[in-house]
Protein backbone atom coordinates (compact mmCIF):
# COMPACT_ATOMS: atom_id res chain seq x y z
CA UNK A 1 0.00 0.00 0.00
CA UNK A 2 1.13 3.52 -0.66
CA UNK A 3 1.90 5.41 2.52
CA UNK A 4 -0.80 7.85 3.53
CA UNK A 5 0.39 11.29 2.74
CA UNK A 6 -1.36 14.01 4.60
CA UNK A 7 -0.60 17.17 2.68
CA UNK A 8 -2.41 18.50 -0.33
CA UNK A 9 -0.64 18.42 -3.65
CA UNK A 10 -3.11 20.74 -5.25
CA UNK A 11 -0.97 23.84 -5.31
CA UNK A 12 1.10 22.25 -8.06
CA UNK A 13 -1.88 22.66 -10.29
CA UNK A 14 -2.78 26.21 -9.38
CA UNK A 15 -2.90 28.19 -12.62
CA UNK A 16 -0.20 30.86 -12.58
CA UNK A 17 -1.71 34.21 -11.75
CA UNK A 18 0.14 37.19 -13.26
CA UNK A 19 -0.63 39.43 -10.33
CA UNK A 20 0.11 36.84 -7.72
CA UNK A 21 -2.92 37.85 -5.64
CA UNK A 22 -6.24 36.09 -5.21
CA UNK A 23 -8.94 37.86 -7.18
CA UNK A 24 -12.45 37.12 -8.30
CA UNK A 25 -12.26 34.80 -11.33
CA UNK A 26 -14.08 37.34 -13.48
CA UNK A 27 -11.64 40.12 -12.63
CA UNK A 28 -8.91 40.53 -15.23
CA UNK A 29 -5.59 39.78 -13.53
CA UNK A 30 -3.81 42.03 -16.00
CA UNK A 31 -5.91 45.24 -15.96
CA UNK A 32 -8.38 44.57 -13.11
CA UNK A 33 -11.45 45.12 -15.29
CA UNK A 34 -14.36 43.18 -13.90
CA UNK A 35 -16.97 41.44 -16.02
CA UNK A 36 -20.35 39.81 -15.51
CA UNK A 37 -20.27 36.13 -16.38
CA UNK A 38 -22.47 36.63 -19.48
CA UNK A 39 -20.22 39.45 -20.70
CA UNK A 40 -17.17 37.26 -20.40
CA UNK A 41 -18.84 34.32 -22.13
CA UNK A 42 -20.02 36.41 -25.05
CA UNK A 43 -16.52 37.84 -25.45
CA UNK A 44 -15.05 34.29 -25.46
CA UNK A 45 -13.53 35.05 -22.03
CA UNK A 46 -11.17 37.62 -23.45
CA UNK A 47 -10.77 40.89 -21.55
CA UNK A 48 -12.37 43.57 -23.71
CA UNK A 49 -10.05 46.10 -22.13
CA UNK A 50 -6.59 44.57 -22.44
CA UNK A 51 -7.00 41.35 -24.41
CA UNK A 52 -6.09 39.03 -21.53
CA UNK A 53 -7.27 35.50 -22.23
CA UNK A 54 -9.12 34.02 -19.24
CA UNK A 55 -9.12 30.23 -18.87
CA UNK A 56 -11.88 28.40 -20.74
CA UNK A 57 -13.39 25.10 -19.63
CA UNK A 58 -13.71 22.21 -22.05
CA UNK A 59 -17.46 22.48 -22.53
CA UNK A 60 -17.32 26.22 -23.14
CA UNK A 61 -14.40 25.71 -25.53
CA UNK A 62 -16.52 23.32 -27.53
CA UNK A 63 -19.24 26.00 -27.70
CA UNK A 64 -16.69 28.53 -28.90
CA UNK A 65 -15.03 26.44 -31.58
CA UNK A 66 -17.41 23.92 -33.00
CA UNK A 67 -20.33 24.09 -35.38
CA UNK A 68 -23.38 23.98 -33.15
CA UNK A 69 -24.48 20.55 -32.00
CA UNK A 70 -21.72 18.91 -34.01
CA UNK A 71 -19.93 17.35 -31.04
CA UNK A 72 -20.50 13.64 -30.49
CA UNK A 73 -18.62 12.67 -27.38
CA UNK A 74 -16.80 9.35 -27.31
CA UNK A 75 -15.19 7.24 -24.58
CA UNK A 76 -17.21 9.28 -22.14
CA UNK A 77 -17.47 6.38 -19.72
CA UNK A 78 -13.76 6.12 -18.92
CA UNK A 79 -12.77 6.83 -15.31
CA UNK A 80 -9.58 6.60 -13.34
CA UNK A 81 -9.06 3.29 -11.54
CA UNK A 82 -6.74 4.57 -8.81
CA UNK A 83 -4.15 1.83 -9.40
CA UNK A 84 -1.92 2.98 -6.51
CA UNK A 85 -4.80 3.49 -4.02
CA UNK A 86 -3.26 6.90 -3.62
CA UNK A 87 -3.94 9.07 -0.63
CA UNK A 88 -2.57 12.49 0.28
CA UNK A 89 -4.81 14.89 2.19
CA UNK A 90 -7.73 12.97 0.79
CA UNK A 91 -7.84 9.86 -1.36
CA UNK A 92 -7.32 10.13 -5.12
CA UNK A 93 -10.80 8.64 -5.57
CA UNK A 94 -12.27 11.41 -3.49
CA UNK A 95 -10.41 14.04 -5.49
CA UNK A 96 -11.62 12.57 -8.75
CA UNK A 97 -15.19 12.57 -7.49
CA UNK A 98 -14.83 16.17 -6.39
CA UNK A 99 -13.38 17.24 -9.73
CA UNK A 100 -16.17 15.45 -11.54
CA UNK A 101 -18.71 17.29 -9.45
CA UNK A 102 -17.01 20.64 -9.94
CA UNK A 103 -16.51 20.37 -13.70
CA UNK A 104 -19.20 17.96 -14.83
CA UNK A 105 -16.49 16.01 -16.66
CA UNK A 106 -15.31 12.42 -16.23
CA UNK A 107 -11.65 13.45 -16.46
CA UNK A 108 -9.44 16.28 -17.73
CA UNK A 109 -9.91 15.46 -21.42
CA UNK A 110 -13.04 15.35 -23.56
CA UNK A 111 -12.94 13.46 -26.83
CA UNK A 112 -15.27 13.01 -29.76
CA UNK A 113 -16.35 13.74 -33.30
CA UNK A 114 -16.71 17.36 -34.31
CA UNK A 115 -17.18 19.82 -37.11
CA UNK A 116 -15.48 23.18 -37.42
CA UNK A 117 -16.64 25.44 -40.23
CA UNK A 118 -18.29 22.40 -41.76
CA UNK A 119 -15.04 20.42 -41.77
CA UNK A 120 -15.11 17.03 -40.07
CA UNK A 121 -12.49 16.33 -37.47
CA UNK A 122 -11.79 14.34 -34.33
CA UNK A 123 -11.44 16.61 -31.30
CA UNK A 124 -9.78 16.44 -27.89
CA UNK A 125 -10.24 19.29 -25.44
CA UNK A 126 -8.62 19.49 -22.05
CA UNK A 127 -9.97 21.20 -18.97
CA UNK A 128 -7.44 22.71 -16.59
CA UNK A 129 -9.99 22.89 -13.79
CA UNK A 130 -10.10 19.10 -13.62
CA UNK A 131 -7.07 18.45 -11.38
CA UNK A 132 -4.90 20.91 -13.29
CA UNK A 133 -5.52 19.14 -16.57
CA UNK A 134 -3.09 16.50 -15.38
CA UNK A 135 -2.48 13.48 -17.58
CA UNK A 136 -3.23 10.14 -15.96
CA UNK A 137 -4.34 6.89 -17.54
CA UNK A 138 -7.73 8.26 -18.60
CA UNK A 139 -6.32 11.29 -20.39
CA UNK A 140 -3.69 9.10 -22.08
CA UNK A 141 -6.24 6.47 -23.03
CA UNK A 142 -8.74 8.96 -24.38
CA UNK A 143 -6.08 10.76 -26.38
CA UNK A 144 -4.81 7.48 -27.83
CA UNK A 145 -8.36 6.52 -28.75
CA UNK A 146 -8.84 9.90 -30.38
CA UNK A 147 -5.85 9.16 -32.62
CA UNK A 148 -7.29 5.76 -33.47
CA UNK A 149 -10.72 7.21 -34.20
CA UNK A 150 -9.17 9.90 -36.41
CA UNK A 151 -7.43 7.13 -38.37
CA UNK A 152 -10.64 5.06 -38.64
CA UNK A 153 -12.69 8.05 -39.71
CA UNK A 154 -9.86 9.46 -41.86
CA UNK A 155 -10.35 12.96 -40.49
CA UNK A 156 -7.83 15.35 -38.92
CA UNK A 157 -7.32 15.40 -35.17
CA UNK A 158 -7.58 18.77 -33.45
CA UNK A 159 -6.21 18.77 -29.92
CA UNK A 160 -6.88 21.71 -27.61
CA UNK A 161 -4.49 21.35 -24.70
CA UNK A 162 -4.29 22.71 -21.16
CA UNK A 163 -2.29 20.77 -18.65
CA UNK A 164 0.15 21.07 -15.78
CA UNK A 165 1.71 17.75 -16.69
CA UNK A 166 1.60 14.29 -15.19
CA UNK A 167 -1.04 13.22 -12.67
CA UNK A 168 1.23 12.30 -9.83
CA UNK A 169 -1.46 10.31 -8.03
CA UNK A 170 -1.01 7.64 -10.68
CA UNK A 171 2.76 7.45 -10.20
CA UNK A 172 4.71 5.72 -12.95
CA UNK A 173 1.50 5.08 -14.90
CA UNK A 174 1.18 8.81 -15.44
CA UNK A 175 4.72 8.94 -16.85
CA UNK A 176 3.87 6.05 -19.15
CA UNK A 177 1.08 8.07 -20.76
CA UNK A 178 3.87 10.11 -22.35
CA UNK A 179 5.30 7.31 -24.59
CA UNK A 180 1.81 5.87 -24.95
CA UNK A 181 0.41 9.00 -26.56
CA UNK A 182 3.58 9.41 -28.65
CA UNK A 183 2.99 5.93 -30.09
CA UNK A 184 -0.62 6.84 -30.85
CA UNK A 185 0.54 9.97 -32.71
CA UNK A 186 3.10 8.00 -34.70
CA UNK A 187 0.41 5.59 -35.85
CA UNK A 188 -1.56 8.60 -36.95
CA UNK A 189 1.44 10.05 -38.78
CA UNK A 190 1.90 6.75 -40.60
CA UNK A 191 -1.73 6.87 -41.65
CA UNK A 192 -1.14 10.43 -42.93
CA UNK A 193 -3.89 11.76 -40.73
CA UNK A 194 -3.41 15.50 -40.07
CA UNK A 195 -2.80 16.58 -36.48
CA UNK A 196 -3.34 20.16 -35.34
CA UNK A 197 -2.27 21.18 -31.84
CA UNK A 198 -3.70 24.17 -30.03
CA UNK A 199 -1.85 25.09 -26.85
CA UNK A 200 -3.76 27.09 -24.27
CA UNK A 201 -2.53 28.37 -20.93
CA UNK A 202 -0.82 26.38 -19.50
CA UNK A 203 0.50 23.46 -21.55
CA UNK A 204 3.57 22.20 -19.77
CA UNK A 205 5.77 19.29 -18.69
CA UNK A 206 4.49 15.86 -19.78
CA UNK A 207 2.22 17.29 -22.43
CA UNK A 208 5.02 19.22 -24.13
CA UNK A 209 7.18 16.09 -23.94
CA UNK A 210 4.51 14.08 -25.69
CA UNK A 211 1.73 14.83 -28.14
CA UNK A 212 1.50 18.61 -27.71
CA UNK A 213 4.70 19.16 -29.72
CA UNK A 214 4.12 16.47 -32.34
CA UNK A 215 1.44 18.10 -34.47
CA UNK A 216 1.74 18.99 -38.13
CA UNK A 217 0.79 22.48 -37.06
CA UNK A 218 1.22 23.96 -33.58
CA UNK A 219 -0.51 27.15 -32.55
CA UNK A 220 -1.04 28.78 -29.17
CA UNK A 221 -3.23 31.39 -27.58
CA UNK A 222 -1.44 34.57 -26.44
CA UNK A 223 0.27 34.32 -23.08
CA UNK A 224 0.19 30.53 -22.95
CA UNK A 225 2.86 29.15 -20.65
CA UNK A 226 4.45 26.32 -22.57
CA UNK A 227 7.58 24.98 -20.99
CA UNK A 228 8.81 21.57 -19.99
CA UNK A 229 10.08 22.80 -16.63
CA UNK A 230 8.15 25.56 -14.90
CA UNK A 231 9.68 29.02 -14.34
CA UNK A 232 9.96 28.53 -10.57
CA UNK A 233 12.04 25.37 -10.86
CA UNK A 234 14.20 26.86 -13.62
CA UNK A 235 14.80 29.93 -11.49
CA UNK A 236 15.82 27.78 -8.52
CA UNK A 237 18.24 25.95 -10.80
CA UNK A 238 19.89 28.88 -12.52
CA UNK A 239 19.53 31.29 -9.58
CA UNK A 240 19.05 34.32 -11.78
CA UNK A 241 16.14 36.36 -13.04
CA UNK A 242 14.33 34.86 -15.95
CA UNK A 243 13.32 36.82 -19.04
CA UNK A 244 9.90 38.44 -18.59
CA UNK A 245 8.06 36.22 -21.01
CA UNK A 246 10.03 33.09 -20.14
CA UNK A 247 8.25 29.99 -21.35
CA UNK A 248 5.31 31.98 -22.73
CA UNK A 249 3.92 31.54 -26.23
CA UNK A 250 5.51 34.83 -27.29
CA UNK A 251 9.01 33.62 -26.36
CA UNK A 252 8.38 30.21 -27.86
CA UNK A 253 7.34 31.81 -31.12
CA UNK A 254 10.59 33.78 -31.25
CA UNK A 255 12.59 30.65 -30.51
CA UNK A 256 10.94 28.76 -33.32
CA UNK A 257 8.59 26.45 -31.45
CA UNK A 258 5.24 27.77 -32.67
CA UNK A 259 3.72 28.24 -36.08
CA UNK A 260 1.48 31.04 -34.90
CA UNK A 261 0.02 32.80 -31.89
CA UNK A 262 -3.70 33.04 -32.51
CA UNK A 263 -6.11 35.33 -30.66
CA UNK A 264 -9.06 33.41 -29.29
CA UNK A 265 -11.44 35.42 -31.47
CA UNK A 266 -9.67 34.08 -34.56
CA UNK A 267 -9.17 30.54 -33.39
CA UNK A 268 -12.27 29.04 -34.96
CA UNK A 269 -11.53 30.67 -38.33
CA UNK A 270 -7.89 29.57 -38.25
CA UNK A 271 -8.85 25.99 -37.42
CA UNK A 272 -11.44 26.06 -40.19
CA UNK A 273 -8.79 27.21 -42.65
CA UNK A 274 -6.28 24.58 -41.54
CA UNK A 275 -8.87 21.82 -41.78
CA UNK A 276 -9.78 22.96 -45.28
CA UNK A 277 -6.12 22.94 -46.29
CA UNK A 278 -5.45 19.49 -44.89
CA UNK A 279 -8.66 18.06 -46.28
CA UNK A 280 -8.07 19.48 -49.76
CA UNK A 281 -4.66 17.98 -49.94
CA UNK A 282 -6.13 14.53 -49.61
Amino acid sequence: MASRIDVSIEHKHAPPDPSGSKKHPNTCPKCSSHYREDELISNLRVCAQCGYHFPVGALERIQQLLDSDSFIEEAKELRSADPLSFFDLRSYKERIAEAELKTGLGDALLMGQAKIEDQDCQLTVMDFSFMGGSMGSVVGEKFARACERAIERNVPLVSVNASGGARMQEGIFSLMQVPKTVCAVENMHDARVPFINVLTHPTTAGLLASFATLGDVTIAEPGTLMCFTGPRVVQQTVREDLPDDFGRAEANYRFGHLDAIVQRQELRAVLGKLLRLFNHGR
Binding site: P179, N187, T213, F228, V238
Partner: protein, 313 residues
Protein backbone atom coordinates in the same frame (compact mmCIF):
# COMPACT_ATOMS: atom_id res chain seq x y z
CA UNK B 1 -2.59 -2.79 -3.71
CA UNK B 2 -1.71 -5.89 -5.65
CA UNK B 3 -5.13 -7.40 -5.06
CA UNK B 4 -7.18 -5.35 -7.53
CA UNK B 5 -4.39 -5.16 -10.08
CA UNK B 6 -3.76 -8.89 -9.90
CA UNK B 7 -7.40 -9.66 -10.62
CA UNK B 8 -7.28 -7.27 -13.55
CA UNK B 9 -4.14 -8.93 -14.89
CA UNK B 10 -5.53 -12.44 -14.53
CA UNK B 11 -8.60 -11.33 -16.42
CA UNK B 12 -6.46 -9.89 -19.21
CA UNK B 13 -4.36 -13.04 -19.30
CA UNK B 14 -7.44 -15.21 -19.70
CA UNK B 15 -8.63 -13.02 -22.56
CA UNK B 16 -5.25 -13.08 -24.30
CA UNK B 17 -5.01 -16.87 -23.99
CA UNK B 18 -8.42 -17.11 -25.60
CA UNK B 19 -7.18 -15.21 -28.65
CA UNK B 20 -5.56 -17.08 -31.50
CA UNK B 21 -3.84 -14.34 -33.42
CA UNK B 22 -1.22 -15.01 -36.06
CA UNK B 23 2.37 -14.60 -34.97
CA UNK B 24 3.74 -14.69 -31.48
CA UNK B 25 2.91 -11.14 -30.44
CA UNK B 26 0.28 -12.36 -28.03
CA UNK B 27 2.59 -14.87 -26.43
CA UNK B 28 5.04 -12.05 -25.62
CA UNK B 29 2.27 -10.22 -23.87
CA UNK B 30 1.11 -13.36 -22.08
CA UNK B 31 4.62 -14.01 -20.82
CA UNK B 32 4.90 -10.46 -19.59
CA UNK B 33 1.67 -10.68 -17.65
CA UNK B 34 2.55 -14.07 -16.21
CA UNK B 35 5.80 -12.56 -15.02
CA UNK B 36 3.97 -9.69 -13.37
CA UNK B 37 1.61 -12.02 -11.54
CA UNK B 38 4.52 -14.15 -10.44
CA UNK B 39 6.25 -11.12 -8.97
CA UNK B 40 3.08 -10.20 -7.12
CA UNK B 41 2.65 -13.68 -5.70
CA UNK B 42 6.21 -14.25 -4.58
CA UNK B 43 7.35 -10.70 -3.89
CA UNK B 44 6.79 -9.45 -0.39
CA UNK B 45 6.02 -5.77 -0.19
CA UNK B 46 9.31 -3.98 -0.04
CA UNK B 47 9.82 -1.88 3.05
CA UNK B 48 10.52 1.85 3.15
CA UNK B 49 14.12 0.97 4.06
CA UNK B 50 14.53 -1.37 1.14
CA UNK B 51 13.11 1.15 -1.31
CA UNK B 52 15.30 3.93 0.04
CA UNK B 53 18.29 1.62 -0.21
CA UNK B 54 17.60 1.31 -3.95
CA UNK B 55 17.23 5.07 -4.26
CA UNK B 56 20.60 5.54 -2.60
CA UNK B 57 22.26 2.84 -4.65
CA UNK B 58 20.74 4.16 -7.88
CA UNK B 59 22.38 7.53 -7.14
CA UNK B 60 25.53 6.22 -5.51
CA UNK B 61 28.45 8.42 -6.62
CA UNK B 62 30.50 5.30 -7.31
CA UNK B 63 27.79 3.54 -9.31
CA UNK B 64 28.92 2.51 -12.80
CA UNK B 65 27.80 4.93 -15.50
CA UNK B 66 27.15 4.53 -19.21
CA UNK B 67 30.81 4.76 -20.25
CA UNK B 68 31.79 2.19 -17.61
CA UNK B 69 29.48 -0.32 -19.21
CA UNK B 70 30.54 0.62 -22.73
CA UNK B 71 34.17 0.09 -21.76
CA UNK B 72 33.36 -3.41 -20.49
CA UNK B 73 30.80 -4.60 -22.99
CA UNK B 74 31.52 -2.88 -26.30
CA UNK B 75 34.57 -3.43 -28.48
CA UNK B 76 35.65 -1.19 -31.37
CA UNK B 77 33.75 1.64 -29.65
CA UNK B 78 33.48 4.81 -31.72
CA UNK B 79 31.74 7.73 -30.11
CA UNK B 80 29.62 9.97 -32.33
CA UNK B 81 29.44 13.60 -31.35
CA UNK B 82 27.27 16.61 -31.99
CA UNK B 83 23.74 17.49 -33.03
CA UNK B 84 24.91 19.07 -36.34
CA UNK B 85 23.29 22.34 -35.33
CA UNK B 86 24.55 23.83 -32.10
CA UNK B 87 26.66 21.70 -29.82
CA UNK B 88 27.86 18.39 -28.54
CA UNK B 89 26.09 17.70 -25.26
CA UNK B 90 28.45 15.86 -22.91
CA UNK B 91 25.52 14.71 -20.73
CA UNK B 92 24.71 12.21 -23.45
CA UNK B 93 27.07 9.64 -24.92
CA UNK B 94 26.27 7.97 -28.22
CA UNK B 95 28.17 5.86 -30.65
CA UNK B 96 28.73 2.64 -32.51
CA UNK B 97 30.50 -0.45 -31.31
CA UNK B 98 30.60 -4.19 -31.46
CA UNK B 99 28.49 -6.15 -28.98
CA UNK B 100 28.16 -9.91 -28.97
CA UNK B 101 29.70 -10.10 -32.42
CA UNK B 102 27.65 -7.49 -34.19
CA UNK B 103 27.49 -3.74 -34.54
CA UNK B 104 25.12 -1.84 -32.27
CA UNK B 105 24.41 1.78 -31.46
CA UNK B 106 24.64 2.68 -27.80
CA UNK B 107 23.07 5.84 -26.41
CA UNK B 108 23.04 6.80 -22.77
CA UNK B 109 22.97 9.57 -20.24
CA UNK B 110 26.41 10.14 -18.79
CA UNK B 111 27.16 11.47 -15.33
CA UNK B 112 30.59 12.69 -14.36
CA UNK B 113 32.34 10.96 -11.50
CA UNK B 114 34.71 12.52 -9.00
CA UNK B 115 35.27 16.21 -8.39
CA UNK B 116 32.79 18.99 -9.06
CA UNK B 117 34.46 19.96 -12.35
CA UNK B 118 33.95 16.48 -13.78
CA UNK B 119 30.40 16.28 -12.57
CA UNK B 120 29.56 19.71 -13.91
CA UNK B 121 31.16 18.87 -17.25
CA UNK B 122 28.58 16.12 -17.69
CA UNK B 123 25.90 18.35 -16.14
CA UNK B 124 25.08 15.57 -13.68
CA UNK B 125 23.61 13.56 -16.52
CA UNK B 126 20.95 16.18 -17.22
CA UNK B 127 20.82 16.69 -20.96
CA UNK B 128 19.89 19.73 -22.99
CA UNK B 129 17.67 19.38 -26.08
CA UNK B 130 20.84 19.28 -28.17
CA UNK B 131 21.80 16.06 -26.42
CA UNK B 132 18.55 14.43 -27.37
CA UNK B 133 18.97 15.69 -30.92
CA UNK B 134 22.42 14.09 -31.07
CA UNK B 135 20.83 10.85 -29.93
CA UNK B 136 18.15 11.04 -32.63
CA UNK B 137 20.83 11.50 -35.25
CA UNK B 138 22.57 8.35 -34.06
CA UNK B 139 19.26 6.47 -34.00
CA UNK B 140 18.74 7.44 -37.63
CA UNK B 141 22.16 6.03 -38.55
CA UNK B 142 21.37 2.81 -36.67
CA UNK B 143 18.02 2.55 -38.41
CA UNK B 144 19.54 3.05 -41.84
CA UNK B 145 22.15 0.37 -41.33
CA UNK B 146 20.17 -2.11 -39.27
CA UNK B 147 22.13 -1.70 -36.03
CA UNK B 148 20.15 -2.55 -32.87
CA UNK B 149 19.88 0.36 -30.46
CA UNK B 150 20.78 -0.07 -26.79
CA UNK B 151 19.92 2.84 -24.52
CA UNK B 152 21.27 3.28 -21.01
CA UNK B 153 19.03 5.50 -18.93
CA UNK B 154 20.61 7.35 -16.04
CA UNK B 155 19.41 10.89 -15.44
CA UNK B 156 17.78 12.87 -12.67
CA UNK B 157 15.76 14.43 -15.49
CA UNK B 158 16.10 16.71 -18.48
CA UNK B 159 18.08 19.85 -17.60
CA UNK B 160 15.82 22.60 -16.20
CA UNK B 161 17.81 25.51 -17.65
CA UNK B 162 16.81 28.71 -19.43
CA UNK B 163 18.53 27.84 -22.71
CA UNK B 164 17.20 24.28 -22.49
CA UNK B 165 13.67 25.66 -22.47
CA UNK B 166 14.43 28.23 -25.15
CA UNK B 167 15.87 25.55 -27.40
CA UNK B 168 12.83 23.31 -27.00
CA UNK B 169 13.39 20.78 -24.25
CA UNK B 170 9.83 19.45 -24.30
CA UNK B 171 9.75 19.10 -28.07
CA UNK B 172 13.13 17.36 -28.10
CA UNK B 173 11.98 14.81 -25.51
CA UNK B 174 8.84 14.11 -27.54
CA UNK B 175 10.80 13.90 -30.79
CA UNK B 176 13.26 11.45 -29.27
CA UNK B 177 10.40 9.15 -28.28
CA UNK B 178 8.79 9.59 -31.69
CA UNK B 179 12.08 8.62 -33.30
CA UNK B 180 12.29 5.49 -31.15
CA UNK B 181 8.68 4.67 -32.02
CA UNK B 182 9.63 4.78 -35.71
CA UNK B 183 12.77 2.65 -35.62
CA UNK B 184 12.77 -0.56 -37.61
CA UNK B 185 15.63 -2.08 -35.62
CA UNK B 186 15.50 -3.90 -32.26
CA UNK B 187 15.75 -1.59 -29.27
CA UNK B 188 16.56 -2.38 -25.65
CA UNK B 189 16.42 0.25 -22.91
CA UNK B 190 18.14 -0.35 -19.58
CA UNK B 191 17.57 1.92 -16.62
CA UNK B 192 20.96 1.70 -14.94
CA UNK B 193 20.60 4.38 -12.27
CA UNK B 194 18.08 7.18 -12.11
CA UNK B 195 15.20 6.95 -14.56
CA UNK B 196 13.99 10.49 -14.02
CA UNK B 197 10.75 11.45 -15.72
CA UNK B 198 10.69 12.88 -19.26
CA UNK B 199 14.45 12.89 -19.54
CA UNK B 200 14.45 9.14 -18.98
CA UNK B 201 11.43 8.22 -21.02
CA UNK B 202 12.96 9.97 -24.04
CA UNK B 203 15.29 6.95 -24.33
CA UNK B 204 12.92 4.30 -23.01
CA UNK B 205 10.41 3.81 -25.81
CA UNK B 206 12.01 0.46 -26.59
CA UNK B 207 11.03 -3.10 -27.46
CA UNK B 208 12.35 -4.24 -24.12
CA UNK B 209 12.65 -2.01 -21.07
CA UNK B 210 14.86 -3.46 -18.37
CA UNK B 211 15.89 -2.09 -14.99
CA UNK B 212 18.85 -2.96 -12.89
CA UNK B 213 17.89 -4.32 -9.50
CA UNK B 214 18.64 -1.06 -7.71
CA UNK B 215 17.77 1.41 -10.42
CA UNK B 216 14.78 3.71 -9.99
CA UNK B 217 12.23 4.90 -12.53
CA UNK B 218 9.59 7.46 -11.75
CA UNK B 219 7.54 10.44 -12.83
CA UNK B 220 9.29 12.65 -10.30
CA UNK B 221 12.35 12.47 -8.06
CA UNK B 222 11.78 11.61 -4.40
CA UNK B 223 12.92 15.14 -3.50
CA UNK B 224 10.69 16.75 -6.10
CA UNK B 225 7.77 14.71 -4.89
CA UNK B 226 8.48 15.57 -1.26
CA UNK B 227 8.81 19.24 -2.13
CA UNK B 228 5.39 19.18 -3.72
CA UNK B 229 3.76 17.07 -1.04
CA UNK B 230 5.36 18.63 2.03
CA UNK B 231 7.29 21.58 0.61
CA UNK B 232 10.27 19.83 2.16
CA UNK B 233 12.78 17.93 0.07
CA UNK B 234 14.01 16.31 3.28
CA UNK B 235 10.96 14.06 3.27
CA UNK B 236 12.29 12.31 0.16
CA UNK B 237 12.48 8.94 1.90
CA UNK B 238 8.81 9.01 2.75
CA UNK B 239 7.95 10.14 -0.76
CA UNK B 240 9.94 7.31 -2.29
CA UNK B 241 8.02 4.84 -0.16
CA UNK B 242 4.78 6.29 -1.47
CA UNK B 243 5.74 6.37 -5.15
CA UNK B 244 7.94 3.29 -5.09
CA UNK B 245 10.28 3.99 -7.98
CA UNK B 246 12.03 0.65 -7.50
CA UNK B 247 12.41 -2.06 -10.12
CA UNK B 248 10.22 -4.64 -8.39
CA UNK B 249 7.33 -2.21 -8.31
CA UNK B 250 7.80 -1.20 -11.96
CA UNK B 251 7.84 -4.86 -12.98
CA UNK B 252 4.76 -5.55 -10.88
CA UNK B 253 2.92 -2.76 -12.69
CA UNK B 254 3.97 -4.08 -16.08
CA UNK B 255 5.93 -0.92 -16.87
CA UNK B 256 9.18 -2.81 -17.44
CA UNK B 257 9.91 -6.23 -18.89
CA UNK B 258 12.58 -7.52 -16.59
CA UNK B 259 15.03 -6.86 -13.79
CA UNK B 260 18.77 -7.13 -14.31
CA UNK B 261 20.49 -8.48 -11.18
CA UNK B 262 23.34 -6.55 -9.56
CA UNK B 263 26.27 -7.81 -7.53
CA UNK B 264 25.59 -8.18 -3.80
CA UNK B 265 25.63 -4.69 -2.27
CA UNK B 266 24.95 -2.92 -5.58
CA UNK B 267 26.55 -2.38 -8.97
CA UNK B 268 29.23 -0.07 -7.57
CA UNK B 269 30.83 -2.89 -5.58
CA UNK B 270 31.90 -4.74 -8.71
CA UNK B 271 31.76 -2.95 -12.07
CA UNK B 272 32.87 -6.01 -13.99
CA UNK B 273 30.25 -8.30 -12.49
CA UNK B 274 27.54 -5.67 -12.98
CA UNK B 275 28.58 -5.28 -16.62
CA UNK B 276 28.46 -9.03 -17.21
CA UNK B 277 24.94 -9.24 -15.81
CA UNK B 278 23.81 -6.23 -17.85
CA UNK B 279 25.43 -7.65 -20.97
CA UNK B 280 23.72 -11.01 -20.56
CA UNK B 281 20.29 -9.46 -20.18
CA UNK B 282 20.75 -7.17 -23.19
CA UNK B 283 22.14 -10.00 -25.27
CA UNK B 284 19.26 -12.33 -24.60
CA UNK B 285 16.74 -9.53 -25.22
CA UNK B 286 18.42 -8.78 -28.58
CA UNK B 287 18.44 -12.46 -29.48
CA UNK B 288 14.71 -12.70 -28.88
CA UNK B 289 14.01 -9.49 -30.79
CA UNK B 290 16.20 -10.61 -33.66
CA UNK B 291 13.60 -13.26 -34.47
CA UNK B 292 10.92 -10.70 -35.20
CA UNK B 293 10.31 -9.01 -38.56
CA UNK B 294 11.07 -5.26 -38.52
CA UNK B 295 7.55 -4.02 -39.20
CA UNK B 296 6.07 -6.40 -36.65
CA UNK B 297 8.70 -5.31 -34.13
CA UNK B 298 7.62 -1.72 -34.49
CA UNK B 299 3.94 -2.60 -34.35
CA UNK B 300 4.44 -4.53 -31.12
CA UNK B 301 6.61 -1.82 -29.60
CA UNK B 302 3.86 0.72 -30.07
CA UNK B 303 1.18 -1.72 -28.94
CA UNK B 304 3.16 -2.43 -25.77
CA UNK B 305 3.15 1.22 -24.71
CA UNK B 306 -0.40 1.69 -25.95
CA UNK B 307 -1.52 -0.92 -23.43
CA UNK B 308 -0.01 0.67 -20.30
CA UNK B 309 -2.36 2.41 -17.90
CA UNK B 310 -5.33 1.45 -15.78
CA UNK B 311 -8.81 2.81 -16.40
CA UNK B 312 -12.28 1.76 -15.42
CA UNK B 313 -15.59 2.54 -17.02
Amino acid sequence: MAGELELRLRDRLAKLRGLHLPGSSVSDEVRRIEQQIEVMETGDERSEDEIWNSVELARHPERPYTLDYIERLISDWFELHGDRARMDDPAIVSGLGSFAGRTVAVIGHQKGRGDAVKRVKRNFGMANPEGYRKAMRVMAIADRHGFPVITLVDTPGAYPGVAAEQHGQGGALAASQATMARLLVPTVACVIGEGGSGGAVAFALADRVLMQQHAIYSVISPEGCATILWRDAGQARKAAAAFKPDAAHCLELGVIDGIIPEPEGGAHTDFDAAAIMLGQSVRSALEELGQVDAGELRRRRRARFRSIGVVSS
